[in-house]
């Protein structure tokens, strides 16, 4: 049932779309069946793969920097009240800032190329990673730390070999939130600065009034979101099979 559920829901959504489009009879809402040939053509002729690769490369690069910066910062924040007292007000300050909307300012600084778009993704995903890494690190059982210290671990070794693994379940929750909002920022930045990528494809098709193509790209983005999220969920379960499972709130601000 849990396996079939998403498939059934997807079919139901497609059926609603099909019926709605048939009722409306407008060229700006093609039926999913009408979109199918475009979807097929796109996947075969390969243009979409190039744009998807461009989008995903930026997402991966932005994410890698976000992880490299956010995990150590979050872990240290969780263990040190002084660092926390310094970092948390800044986190609270940046929380309501629409990060994706900073893209024109980053373009002013770093040009209109990939770097701005990568940095905007980094900026966005770092926040939930720091926040959740901190929560996880702050909640590590004191007994584990005492034992490690008694066995002669250096402070750095404790952070790396005790705190980090213990904080992993919570940290990975933050990474999952990061994936969802990273995708949002990836798409929106490509819609604001239209050069390439999936966000660009959607608007480009719409501007040229190729409505079936517009919807085909939207479907691809939807599938991509689902695949990335459930792929990561599977990975997360394997990495933290020993921890009690918690549902992440799949919603966060971008």
């Amino acid at each position: 049932m849990t396996r079939l559920g998403p498939v059934l829901v997807l079919l139901a959504l497609l059926a609603i779309w099909q019926l709605g489009a048939m009722a409306l009879q407008a060229d700006y809402l093609p039926t999913p069946i009408a979109v199918l040939p475009d979807l097929r053509a796109m996947l075969i002729d390969g243009d979409i793969w190039r744009d998807m690769a461009a989008s995903l490369t930026r997402l991966a690069a932005g994410f890698a920097i976000g992880l490299a910066a956010g995990v150590p910062l979050g872990i240290v924040c969780g263990r040190s009240t002084a660092v926390r007292g310094c970092v948390n007000p800044l986190l609270a300050l940046f929380y309501p800032v629409p990060k994706a909307a900073l893209i024109p300012i980053l373009m002013l600084w770093f040009g209109a190329g990939d770097l701005s778009k990568i940095l905007i993704i980094t900026l966005t995903v770092t926040l939930p990673i720091v926040y959740h890494a901190q929560q996880g690190a702050a909640a590590v059982e004191e007994k584990l730390l005492w034992s490690a210290r008694a066995m002669g671990f250096s402070p750095a070794a404790i952070l790396w070999r005790v705190v980090l693994p213990a904080a992993l379940p919570e940290l990975l929750l933050g990474v999952r939130v990061g994936i969802v909002i990273g995708l949002i920022v990836m798409i929106s930045s490509e819609m604001i600065v239209r050069q390439n990528g999936l966000g660009y494809d959607i608007f480009n098709a719409m501007d040229m009034a190729q409505y079936t193509l517009t919807y085909a790209v939207i479907v691809i983005v939807g599938v991509l979101g689902y695949v990335l999220d459930s792929g990561f969920e599977a990975l997360r379960r394997r990495l933290t099979f020993w921890a009690p499972q918690r549902q992440a709130m799949v919603a966060a601000s971008s």
Binding site: P98, L108, W109, L198
Partner: protein, 248 residues
Amino acid sequence: MIRNALRGAAPILLLLALWEGFARSGLVPRTLLPPATLVIARTATALTTASFDADLLTTLTRLLAGLALAIILGIALGILAAQNRVGGMIFDPLVRVLGPLPKIALFPAFLLLLGFEDAPRIALVLIDAIFPIMLAAHAAARAVDEKLIWSARAAGLSPAACVLRVVLPAAMPQIMTGIRVAAVIACVVVFLSEMVQPGDGLGDQMIRAARAFRSVDMFVPIVVISALGALLDATLATIRAQALAWAA
């Protein structure tokens, strides 16, 4: 309390001071990074300008309309899914499929379907803001103590009255938390919708400033929308604390 507030303000003031110093040091051109004081002064001027206020009002209207719809529908759907067996079976897979979908990708479809004015932007705010509220309402309604519901039913309350007078109040603390998350999302999304398809509103101010390379004016809409988000968040936090003092 005051000491805590001061300690919290210190890193923020330090950041502002660093920004100001760096911008005035001459290491970077003013056009790339205007000093913080200049941005703050320009924001104050903008807020007294009629055309800027008109855009602010436009954005605020869209934001609140979408958020209000998300609150009503999110609470209704979340509780319905928790109370109803069929609803519950649809809810989980629906959230798993639609949750990770970057909703902004649907925005072009909304533009085509709903026109290029307010409606598509309100719809985008709705589908982005509804998720945290719906998830919170669902989780909270499922966690309501069954004994409370049984007592209410035994006391002669109809199922509908039971939802309104027992389940909803019991679920409210968690729902309010969901609404706070949703409010900040709504601010972000409405701004993005106005940047992606400019026309009017704060996002449009940002795009126009960027196209004209008026760098100070690029910071102003960001400052205003962020302040709006922080204000909304603080207001909701206060409401939550006041109205739900019993839940602590």
